[in-house]
Symmetry: C2
Subunit: 204 residues, 2 copies
DNA sequence: TCTTTTTTATTGAACGTTCAATCAACAAAA
DNA sequence: TTTTGTTGATTGAACGTTCAATAAAAAAGA
């Protein structure tokens, strides 16, 4: 059924199939044949559209990061500019949306975390994402707390988010999003409670 | 140089070499030849002592878990029985000692986390460890807080510990142990501060 | 409208590489 | 001489990549 304009369709299919394959069998056993079968195409097509398996894996990680960024952005763009608490709650919510907190995405994240330790291209992507989470939080906390305290709070909340997410990924019963959000909100409010003498920008 | 009683020596060498290989090249490229070379022995010896590569990997994870358990135990055994804050600080310290927070151990942990998603034997080991951290924290918080609050606090502190550790593992500059401990201590103290009306067992 | 040609999309068998596991052969110690 | 420990070449399975072959769609020509 060859038609023109298949490239974006195939790319989406293959990226989706990559996550499914990693969910099914893990990154180590996500072979090109397996991924292609899940996408309903031939193995050769992967090299055609992504230049090889590595290209597909990198594109998959990019997609996940893009989805995460969008999930956060969607929630933040409706907020007023000066509302640090709301913005940080939006960041928390966005991280636990993660464009569906489904098993496949969660497992793929974890696999890429491990891989990024030994693949420069993946590490860059992953590091940019880490820094962005921290910087965004830091900037928001900075509106309520002095610099040093803001840095600490941002580091703590970033760790809390990733930790909740990691433990959710590893738990057989999966991630309890409501519980995770609640724990992160609580940490956030604890930190903001100490901003009494600083500025009083907390809303609702 | 064949001598009797080589088994425990070789096992230690090979487990150590496995972590070094994972540090150097990642789990995917930690081949038996590479591991054997690092240990200064032949590849065949792995099957001889561990029944195969999988056996060696499982033994390596067991070793890491054992070291972690010991690091915590060492710090707790000198404490009085009823001192929840001290015990939890000991648990935090133990988790960030992790028998040397060296790069090799950190990378191996992360690799096993990812693998445990698809290998039943590794998942069991990993799950037992996660539950133990949570249960220990829960038991300690229970001495200062009502059941539901204790569960939440334990879940939050466990996530904080793992999150700090994960972000430390991924950061190019490595894990800043003092900073991590401080953030975990702060979280602990925040949670204990709410135990005013409950029991007053906080020490120093 | 009906060919013919060109372009785009795809397949899957073949190839070369890499890996873990095996095992016959060997060496030092008992 | 027997036992224990070790080697490393060999084996077969599995992998990613390549590419000649093919088929459908689009474009060009009649």
């Amino acid at each position: 059924m060859p038609k023109v304009g298949m490239e974006p369709i195939r790319r989406r299919q293959l990226i989706q199939a990559t996550m499914e394959a990693i969910d099914e069998a893990g990154l180590a056993d996500a072979t090109v044949v397996r991924i292609a079968r899940l996408a309903g195409v031939s193995a050769g097509i992967i090299s055609h559209y992504f230049g090889g398996k590595d290209g597909l894996l990198e594109a998959t990680m990019r997609q996940i990061l893009k989805d995460l960024g969008q999930a956060v952005h969607e929630r933040r763009k409706v907020l007023p500019e000066h509302a640090p608490r709301d913005h940080m709650r939006a960041i928390i919510d966005g991280n636990f949306d993660r464009s569906q907190v489904n098993r496949a995405v969660v497992k793929t994240w974890l696999a890429f975390w491990a891989s990024s330790m030994h693949q420069r291209s993946l590490h860059r992507l992953q590091h940019v994402n880490d820094r962005r989470l921290y910087s965004n939080l830091c900037h928001q906390f900075r509106q309520c707390l002095p610099k040093q305290q803001a840095r600490e709070a941002a580091g703590g909340l970033a760790a809390m988010i990733d930790g909740l997410w990691l433990r959710g990924a590893l738990a057989p019963e999966g991630l309890d999003v409501d519980r995770a959000c609640k724990l992160a909100y609580d940490y956030l409010d604890e930190k903001l409670a100490h901003s009494a003498e600083h500025t009083a920008l907390r809303n609702a």
